[in-house]
């Protein structure tokens, strides 16, 4: 899939002009749009939240540090992947960054391919996660259409109960369970029970990459 059609931008936040410009050059050399900010404050003020893409964020900056910015964005529900770049990596810093939801944690001066590879991966991930988000929205919409009776049957189906057990537990007829199950599959646009379970997990945000 083409990034251009996905309208993705690489956002660079670094207070060192050379470092900033070099990332911009790298991105431009791949004919991708790039947007640069010299500080966290500058970014927060001027960034358009509807932008899609990936963020390359330096840790050491005057003012708010990269990790602090990441933590703030995360609490605001910011969804773009964030690659944390640091001049000197240490374990506590890495742990903190990953805990704050960084996509990746890179050291400056590492292999020259690494940054670009990571950026590309992050862009794909972002594209995929955007698709998944769309799917999740759909599933949640379908879930909302279920009646409370159907909901109760679905919960037990996902837990892996056989129809008989469900009928006994809900004190309804086996036939009723079968009917409701067919309705649920239809409403959820699922072709099989396995797919139904996946959809529910996606809706519950429990899917893993």
């Amino acid at each position: 899939m083409s990034t251009a059609t996905l309208n993705q931008t690489v956002i660079v936040v670094d207070d060192d002009p050379a470092a900033r410009d070099s990332v911009a050059a790298l991105v431009q050399s791949q004919s991708l749009p790039v947007q640069t900010f010299s500080s966290a404050e500058n970014f927060l003020e001027n960034f358009d939240r509807s932008q899609r893409g990936v963020m390359v964020l330096d840790v050491r900056m005057t003012g708010k540090t990269g990790v602090e910015l990441l933590e703030q964005l995360q609490s605001e529900g910011f969804a773009l992947p964030v690659i944390i770049i640091t001049g000197f990596a240490n374990v506590p810093l890495a742990v903190r960054a990953m805990r704050a939801g960084a996509y990746s944690f890179l050291e400056k001066g590492g292999s020259e391919q690494e940054l670009w590879t990571t950026v590309q991966e992050a862009l794909q991930w972002e594209a995929r996660s955007r698709e998944r988000e769309t799917l999740r929205q759909e599933i949640r919409q379908h879930l909302a259409e279920l009646t409370s009776d159907e909901q109760r049957v679905l919960d037990r189906l996902v837990d892996g109960m056989p129809n008989k057990v469900i009928a006994a537990e809900l004190d309804i007829g086996l036939r009723t369970v079968e009917l409701r199950r067919a309705t649920i599959l239809k409403k959820m646009n699922a072709r099989s029970l396995a797919e139904l379970v996946r959809f529910v997990l996606i809706a519950q945000d429990k899917d893993s990459e």
Binding site: A18, D21, S22, S29, R60, E112
Partner: protein, 649 residues
């Protein structure tokens, strides 16, 4: 009436009388006339010459009377004969009277002469005495009595002179007097005890008194009291012995030079210090054993003092030991050429070879400590350093990858971008190299080299270096530079280190200070003959203990501190001839001050000297203040890195 008229008048009267006596038989008148003459004569006869003149005149008159009066020959007429006899008688009486008067006169003169002599002798301050050949005192003057503490002549006269002489000198005195009595004259010094018990030293000169060809009858002795001069002389001699001993036995070298810098005198210590016998050393000159490299300094040293009387200068130079090796000598020349008692240049000196070696050793030790301190400082900066160096490497990596990407495609636009980015690669590489160079210079372990430096440059270097230190993040550094600071003669690295220590110290003291109040003020000033640098912080101030404790080794208030930074800093500054101290600010925080002397006129040998050279090898460093001018301050200042660069490997 004047005496000189008396003679001719008397003679004239006597001539008239003679004629009257010859021509007229008036005997009575004649008698009266002679009587007048007899009375007048004593006045005439005041001297022997006059008396003889009158006597001669009378004899002439008598002879004339005999010639003119034939009757005197024939003797027939009684009256004339009687007259002639009268005349003769009177003239004879006249002469006798004259002679007697003359004798009286002579006696009177002698008495007067003697009185004069006695007065002279009596008023003589020295003792004049006459002894017989058995030492008995025959005569002695007042001064002599006083010398023997006698009140009356009787206490002394007729006594043996030996009676007053101390027992030790008596035999010698008797022998001496015997020699004088035998006809020699001579002199002797001896001690006497006066009648009242006072001891005196006397010096007698004695001559034998005798008539020619006859045995000696007595001895004239002139005696002087030499107690005071003798005591003074002995005191002086003792003093001289004492000073001579002090000079000759002096631990330090003492010598005297003439105008041409030749040694006139050298104390015994010369043998210990330079191996020469004092007598041999006096054949040499100041320049004979001077190290060739120091000769010029020695010459200017001598020139400086020889033009100014009383001037004194000290230098350090190398001088060859008699056995051939060179020793470091600290020497002072004092120009006393103008002093008539000295008439030379006093040269004091000592061998400081061992002291220099110890100083070198302690300086080397300090340099090692300082290096360790710098390594520690840099070690603590390692995170930041990695960051600083990775920054350009990261940019280089990105630019090169970007350039590669665009170069694979064609098009003027792509080439233009590649050119721009490749330029960036070079720039970033230089940036990385600069960081490494700055660091390398700070941690290098070369021997310290002192060169003229500008204090502001040192300060700027430090501030740039510390931009990398995490401890100074968030701290504002304000500078108040002195405009056109005079150059100082220092080891740049060591002074930079002191500033680094002070700045890190200041930053750490402000950890509790609110962010916007964290400020360090670095200022340079130039109060009289020195440069003063101050580092002011707004931190937590000094601990309760005396402020001076912060300069002690292993004293620290920080959990991970070694307590060496300030101690080493103080040693480094003191080694440069300056001072480092701390004062509490009136509001908050403290100010560290340090000074560095502007002049290089201290006697501390500079660090350029690599080897001691006591075994004869010639160190080629500039250690004499006169030679420091060889370093061109301008070129050294414009090319600041030069002194350090060449030695790096």
């Amino acid at each position: 009436m004047k005496l000189k008229y008396l003679l001719p008048i008397t003679l004239a009267i006597s001539a008239v009388m003679f004629l009257v006596d010859l021509l007229t038989p008036l005997e009575v008148l004649t008698g009266i006339s002679y009587l007048i003459l007899a009375v007048a004569f004593p006045f005439v006869a005041r001297s022997a010459r006059w008396s003889w003149a009158v006597a001669g005149w009378c004899t002439f008159l008598i002879a004339l009377g005999v010639v003119l009066d034939p009757r005197f020959v024939i003797g027939t007429e009684l009256g004339n004969l009687a007259l002639t006899n009268h005349s003769l008688l009177a003239i004879s009486m006249w002469c006798i009277t004259g002679l007697v008067l003359f004798a009286v006169e002579v006696q009177k003169k002698l008495a007067q002469r003697e009185m004069e002599l006695r007065t002279i002798v009596e008023s003589e301050p020295e003792c004049v005495s006459v002894l017989d050949c058995e030492n008995q005192v025959l005569q002695i003057n007042q001064a002599g009595l006083a010398m023997l503490e006698a009140d009356q002549l009787a206490q002394v006269k007729g006594h043996d002179w030996c009676r007053w002489i101390v027992a030790d000198n008596q035999a010698e005195f008797r022998a001496w007097i015997r020699r004088v009595a035998g006809g020699e004259s001579g002199q002797m010094t001896y001690e006497v005890v006066g009648l009242r018990g006072t001891r005196r030293w006397l010096e007698s000169h004695a001559v034998p008194l005798k008539n020619p060809g006859q045995p000696v009858v007595s001895i004239l002795a002139i005696t002087r009291d030499i107690t005071v001069p003798r005591m003074a002389d002995e005191t002086l001699r003792a003093l001289e012995r004492r000073f001579r001993a002090m000079v000759e036995k002096s631990f330090e070298g003492v010598a005297l030079l003439d105008e041409a810098a030749r040694y006139q005198f050298a104390g015994d210590s010369i043998q210990r210090i330079l191996g020469w016998q004092p007598a041999d050393f006096t054949q040499r000159s100041l320049f004979d054993d001077c190290h060739p490299d120091d000769r010029r300094a020695c010459e200017s040293w001598l020139r400086e003092i020889s033009t100014q009387p009383g001037e004194s200068r000290t230098i350090i130079y190398r001088r060859r030991h008699q056995r051939g090796d060179y020793r470091w000598i600290e020497a002072t020349l004092t120009n006393l050429l103008h002093d008539p008692a000295v008439q030379g240049i006093v040269n004091n000196f000592r061998d400081i070879t061992e002291r220099r070696r110890a100083e070198e050793e302690s300086r080397r030790h300090l340099a090692e400590m300082a290096h360790t301190n710098r390594l520690t400082t840099v070690g603590q900066m390692v995170v930041e350093l990695t960051h600083e160096i990775n920054q350009p490497l990261y940019a280089i990596s990105n630019f090169s990858q970007a350039s590669l990407s665009v170069l694979k495609e064609n098009g003027a636009d792509n080439r233009e971008r590649a050119v721009k980015w490749t330029g960036q690669i070079g720039e970033q590489a230089r940036r990385a190299a600069e960081i490494i160079r700055r660091l390398r210079r700070f941690v290098q372990a070369d021997a310290p080299i002192r060169a003229p430096s500008a204090i502001n440059d040192i300060g700027l270097n430090v501030i740039r270096l510390l931009e990398m230190d995490p401890r100074l993040h968030g701290v504002r550094i304000r500078t108040e530079w002195l405009e056109h600071p005079p150059p100082i003669y220092v080891d740049r690295i060591q002074i930079e280190q002191v500033l680094v220590n002070l700045l890190i110290n200041a930053a750490e003291a402000m950890e509790q200070t609110p962010l916007d109040e964290r400020e360090i003020v670095v200022a340079t000033r130039a109060p009289q003959d020195q440069i003063e640098v101050t580092v002011r912080d707004s931190g937590c101030g000094l601990p309760q203990q005396p402020a001076e404790r912060v300069f002690e080794s292993y004293y620290t208030t920080k959990p991970d501190g070694m307590g060496m930074g300030l101690a080493i800093s103080r040693s480094l500054i003191e080694d440069h001839g300056g001072k480092l101290w701390v004062e509490a600010n009136p509001d908050r925080g403290v100010t560290f001050h340090f000074t560095l002397p502007l002049t290089t006129a201290n006697l501390k040998p500079a660090d350029g000297v690599k080897s001691e050279g006591p075994k004869g090898d010639a160190p080629n460093g500039d250690h004499l203040k006169g030679d420091e001018a060889k370093v061109d301050p301008i070129s050294s200042l414009t090319n600041q890195e030069a002194p350090h660069e060449h030695s790096y490997s």
